[in-house]
C-alpha cells in the first residue's frame, strides 16, 4: 500500500472575485522511500495540493473534497489536533525561501529544539543534542557553535540546510519540499538536491518535490506528475517523461529548458500565452488556448487522465490520438 495516496482531491477558495479552483480533482500516490516530482508553473495548484496534505489550507473560505490517505489514516477526516500531531512528526515540509521561513528573532537552536519537543518527550538538553546531531548530518560545519546563531547569520544554502534539519529532526516518513532550491544560487541548488537525495536514501524518507524546474526533478524524482491549471495532465516515471512525453504542455516544458547537448544556435521555445485564470477556466481542455495542436475535439470537455496504450503507468490527459502524439514528439525531438 502506498504511503501517501491522494484521490480526486479538489481545493476551492471562495474569494471576493469568485471561486478559485486551485486544485481540480488530482490523484497521485507515493510509496515508502520513493520520490515524486510535481512540476508546474506558478498557480498550477502544486503548492496548494501539498499544503492541503499538511492540513494547512483549512480555512473558512476553503472547500476541500476528495481523499487523502497517509499511512492508513484519512487526513481529510482527521481532526485539527490529529493533523497537528502528524505535521512535523510524520510529514514534514520545507519551503522556498529559507530566510523568511525561519523566525528572525529566535536562534536556530531554539527553533530546532521546539520542533523536537512538540512531538517527543525529551528534555531540553536531549533535544539540543538531537538538534546538533541533525545540523551535523545536513552539513552545517561546527554545529555545536552554530546552533546558537540567528537565521540571518547564515548564508542562503546554510539556511536551507537548517530548514531540512528541522524538517527531518523527528524522522518523518514523508518530506514535502516546496520549491526548496528556487531561492538559491545554482551551485548551492545542486548541493541542496544532493543533500535531499542522500538523506532520502539514508533515512528512507519518501519525498514529494514540488518545482517548476524540470532539472530539479530530473535529479531527485522517481515519478513525475505535471500539473496545469489545478489538474495533473501527465504522470509517468521520470525516464518516460523525459524520453516519451505525451502531452503538448510537457513538450513545451521540455523545449523551454536549455540543454548542453543541442547546438548553441538552437533557440529556446517558450510556451506561448499565459497560465489561465483559476476563477474562469477555459472551456474544455485548460491548455487548449496555448496549445499549438488544438482542434475542435479539445473544446467539449477537459480530458481525463488516461493510461497510454501499452504503458498503464503512464497517464496523459489529451484528446490527441496516441499515434499522432508519438509522431509529433518524434518530429519535435528530431528538430532539436
Amino acid at each position: 500500500m502506498a504511503l501517501l495516496e491522494v484521490r480526486n482531491l479538489s481545493v476551492q477558495f471562495e474569494t471576493d472575485d469568485g471561486v478559485v479552483q486551485a486544485v481540480d480533482g488530482i490523484s497521485y500516490s507515493v510509496d515508502q522511500g520513493q520520490a515524486l516530482g510535481i512540476v508546474g508553473e506558478s498557480g498550477s495548484g502544486k503548492s496548494v495540493s501539498s499544503l492541503t496534505v499538511m492540513g494547512l489550507t483549512r480555512a473558512r473560505n476553503a472547500r476541500i473534497s476528495g481523499e487523502i490517505h497517509f499511512d492508513g489514516k484519512d487526513l481529510l477526516a482527521a481532526s485539527a489536533e490529529d493533523l497537528r500531531q502528524i505535521r512535523g512528526n510524520e510529514i514534514a515540509m520545507i519551503f522556498q525561501d529559507p530566510l523568511s521561513s525561519l523566525h528572525p528573532f529566535y536562534k536556530i537552536g531554539k527553533q530546532l529544539v521546539e520542533a523536537v519537543q512538540v512531538h517527543q518527550d525529551m528534555t531540553k538538553a536531549q533535544a539540543r543534542d538531537r538538534a546538533i546531531e541533525m545540523l551535523g548530518l545536513v552539513g552545517i560545519p561546527d554545529p555545536r557553535k552554530r546552533i546558537d546563531s540567528y537565521p540571518h547569520e547564515f548564508s542562503g544554502g546554510m539556511r536551507q540546510r537548517v530548514m531540512i534539519a528541522m524538517a527531518l529532526i523527528n524522522d518523518p516518513k514523508l518530506l514535502i519540499a516546496d520549491e526548496p532550491t528556487t531561492a538559491l544560487d545554482v551551485t548551492v541548488q545542486a548541493q541542496i538536491l544532493d543533500l535531499i537525495q542522500r538523506l532520502q536514501s539514508e533515512l528512507g524518507t519518501a519525498v514529494v518535490m514540488i518545482t517548476h524546474d524540470l532539472g530539479v526533478v530530473a535529479e531527485v524524482a522517481d515519478d513525475i506528475a505535471v500539473m496545469y491549471a489545478g489538474r495533473i495532465i501527465e504522470k509517468a516515471t521520470k525516464e518516460t517523461i523525459f524520453a516519451k512525453p505525451q502531452h503538448p504542455y510537457t513538450w513545451g516544458l521540455l523545449k523551454s529548458i536549455p540543454r548542453l547537448d543541442t547546438p548553441r544556435d538552437q533557440e529556446l521555445v517558450p510556451i506561448a500565452g499565459r497560465p489561465p485564470s483559476l476563477i474562469v477556466k477555459p472551456q474544455g481542455c485548460s491548455f487548449h488556448p496555448r496549445c499549438p495542436y488544438r482542434h475542435d475535439a479539445c473544446l467539449p470537455q477537459d480530458p481525463p487522465l488516461e493510461p497510454v496504450p501499452q504503458d498503464p503507468g503512464h497517464g496523459v490527459a489529451c484528446v490527441l490520438a496516441h499515434d499522432r502524439r508519438e509522431q509529433i514528439w518524434a518530429e519535435l525531438r528530431s528538430h532539436a
Binding site: 494547512l56 497537528r84 512535523g88 519551503f95 525561519l102 523566525h103 528573532f105 520542533a115 512538540v118
Partner: protein, 318 residues
C-alpha cells in the same frame, strides 16, 4: 552597543540644547508678552519694570541672555525661578514627578495589557462579530476626548458625586497616603488616561499581527506541528509587539512631560497640572521649565527605546 549609546547620548544633549534655545526664543524674543510686565504683577510703575528688567537680565543682548539661560540649565541644571512665588522651578517640578510617574506608568500597564489582549483577539478572530465589536469600541475610545471621558467617569463612579460611588474621585490623590491608597485614588485616572492609548495599541497590534500571521515563518511554525496557541503567542506576537515597544517608549516620554488633561480633571498634583497652572498664571519661567522637561522626557525615552529595540530584534546592530 557601547559606542552607539555614547553617540546617541551626544545627539540627545545636542537636541536638548536646540530645543531649549527654541523655547527661549519663543518665550523671550518673539513679541508675545513682555516678561517683565508678567513678572511685575498688576499696574507696575516704570521704575519697577526697569528694575525687573535688570534683575532678569532682559536689558542685555539676546545672545548673552541665551547663554545665561542655557548655561544655567545645562551646567547648574537650573530651570529658573517661578514668577508667581519666587520658588525655584526645578524643585517644584521634581516634587511633582512622582505623581505623574505613578499616573503614567500605571496607565501604561493598563493600556498595554488591555490593548494587546484586544489586538490579539481581534486578529485571531478577524472578520467575526467579536472583531467588529472590539474595533468599533476602539474607534469610539480613540474619538472620545480624555477630559470628557474623565468627567463622565467622575459623574458615574466617584464616591462623592458619582451615581455608583465606588472609586475615589477628583482630588483624592492629594489626600492619599502610602502606595496602596495613592494607587486606589489613581484607578479611575489610569483607566481614563489609558482608554485612547489602549484603543490605538489594539488597532496597531491587530494590524501587525495580521501581517505577521501571513509570514512564511508562521507557516513553518504550523508545519512543525505547533499548536495554534503557541503559533500565535510565541511566534507571531514576538514579531508583532516589537514595533509597539517604540511607540510605547515615546508615549510614556510625552506623558511624563505632563498628562495635562487627566491631571487637571482629577486634580492630581503632577507635572501636567503644574504646567496648566503656570499657563493660567502666565508664569513664563515655569512654562519654559516644563517644556524643556517634556523634551528631556521624550529624548531620553527614545534613547531607551533604541537600546531595547536592539535587544528585541537580533538583526538590529548599531
Amino acid at each position: 552597543m557601547g559606542p552607539f549609546i555614547i553617540r546617541r547620548l551626544l545627539w540627545t544633549v545636542l537636541l536638548l540644547i536646540l530645543i531649549s534655545g527654541i523655547t527661549f526664543f519663543i518665550f523671550y524674543e518673539l513679541p508675545t508678552a513682555d516678561p517683565a510686565a508678567l513678572r511685575a504683577g498688576r499696574s507696575p510703575s516704570p521704575e519697577t519694570l526697569a528694575l525687573i528688567r535688570e534683575q532678569l537680565g532682559l536689558d542685555k543682548a539676546w545672545y548673552s541672555q541665551l547663554w545665561t539661560f542655557l548655561s544655567d540649565l545645562f551646567f547648574h541644571f537650573d530651570f529658573g525661578t517661578s514668577y508667581v512665588n519666587d520658588l525655584p522651578v526645578r524643585e517644584q517640578l521634581f516634587e511633582r514627578i512622582p505623581a505623574t510617574g505613578f499616573l503614567v506608568l500605571g496607565a501604561a500597564v493598563v493600556w498595554v495589557v488591555v490593548g494587546v489582549s484586544i489586538g490579539i483577539v481581534s486578529a485571531v478572530f478577524r472578520g467575526t462579530v467579536w472583531d467588529r465589536l472590539l474595533m468599533g469600541g476602539a474607534l469610539l475610545a480613540i474619538s472620545a476626548p480624555v477630559y470628557w471621558l474623565g468627567l463622565v467617569a467622575l459623574y458615574l463612579f466617584s464616591d462623592d458625586i458619582g451615581k455608583f460611588g465606588i472609586l475615589p474621585g477628583s482630588g483624592s490623590y492629594q489626600d492619599a497616603d502610602g502606595f496602596f491608597e495613592k494607587g486606589h485614588a489613581l484607578v479611575m485616572p489610569w483607566f481614563v488616561l489609558s482608554m485612547a492609548f489602549a484603543a490605538i495599541y489594539a488597532r496597531l497590534l491587530r494590524a501587525n499581527l495580521l501581517e505577521t500571521l501571513s509570514e512564511d515563518y508562521i507557516r513553518t511554525a504550523r508545519a512543525k506541528g505547533l499548536s495554534e496557541r503557541r503559533v500565535v503567542l510565541r511566534h507571531a506576537i514576538r514579531s508583532a509587539v516589537t514595533p509597539i515597544v517604540t511607540v510605547l517608549g515615546l508615549d510614556i516620554g510625552i506623558l511624563f512631560g505632563g498628562a495635562i488633561l487627566t491631571e487637571t480633571v482629577f486634580n492630581i498634583p503632577g507635572v501636567g497640572r503644574y504646567a496648566f497652572d503656570a499657563i493660567e498664571r502666565g508664569d513664563l519661567a515655569t512654562i519654559q521649565g516644563t517644556t524643556v522637561f517634556l523634551a528631556l522626557g521624550v529624548a531620553v525615552m527614545s534613547l531607551i527605546v533604541d537600546v531595547i529595540y536592539a535587544y528585541l530584534d537580533p538583526r538590529v546592530r548599531y
